[in-house]
Symmetry: C3
Subunit: 117 residues, 3 copies
């Protein structure tokens, strides 16, 4: 078996790559894009739970997170509300957040995480 | 020998840093900036091939990729055309792409990769 | 003891996470936001020195750096002046820099670093 495991691969990327006990997850956006930043973040974090579970880890083992928001003035509070309800109080990852235009006009949030196996 | 190897260093950064079997490559932009996003991406990916080869690895061992585009509406298709022609179908890394203004007005694409040795 | 160490945690994030000899530092912004990009970068880099020292490492062991500037045309020279005065000439990390709107209007620079223990 290779020392690199790739999961959920499509024609452009793998959703998850694992190497030496580190789990890299591709940038995640909401499947239901009709909601505001809080609703999209809830959707994204549930997808991240699923990606982490698929390789046998979970949100208590997050290492670092990068977050892109479509409109940081409008979206920051909603992101943080959904984030606070999800992230384990005793296992906070590092985080950095900025505003960035994303690949589709209805995407308000994209989240990139790394975690430990 | 140090447990950190640094290659192609200049007064601002190293193009490549290797630590515990992980290869970090600095953000790569095109040398020939006259082209569109597709042409610049072809140029960038060839440079990444060279950086990876210089430390004994290659694009089949990519872990994660972050891509910045000057104008995501205009540049996304060209990026993806060059990307699809280059990335190994059986070794897709994770990927995240957003729009970001870069350090010079003629830079349309910047790509940051990590790979395994 | 867990294989993941988290330091300086608050209700949103940990300032520092350590896992398998890699130190992840959250995005750092200036405490004194009254200055220009150069002054803010000096402030940020001093904070990074402190974060690294708190886990027993230092700037000679930086691996990769990502930098966000509020206005890359205005701020790039000031960033680079502060950076050149701080970064060890014989231990340059990889680096990538773009423009990005940050979480508050007076933040001109945010820097995300990873380092080796």
């Amino acid at each position: 078996m290779s020392d690199i495991q790739r999961h959920d691969s499509n024609a452009r990327l793998s959703r998850i790559v694992v190497h030496t006990a580190v789990v890299y997850v591709a940038g995640v956006t909401a499947t239901d894009r009709s909601g505001d930043a809080q609703a999209q973040t809830v959707d994204i974090l549930a997808k991240i739970d699923g990606y982490l579970a698929s390789v046998g880890t979970n949100k208590s083992r997050l290492l670092s997170v990068q977050i892109w928001l479509q409109d940081i003035d409008r979206d920051f509070a909603g992101l943080n509300a959904a984030w606070a309800a999800w992230v384990p109080a005793d296992a906070m990852p590092t985080r950095a957040t900025c505003e960035a235009k994303l690949a589709a006009a209805d995407l308000r949030v994209e989240i990139i995480v790394t975690a430990a196996l």
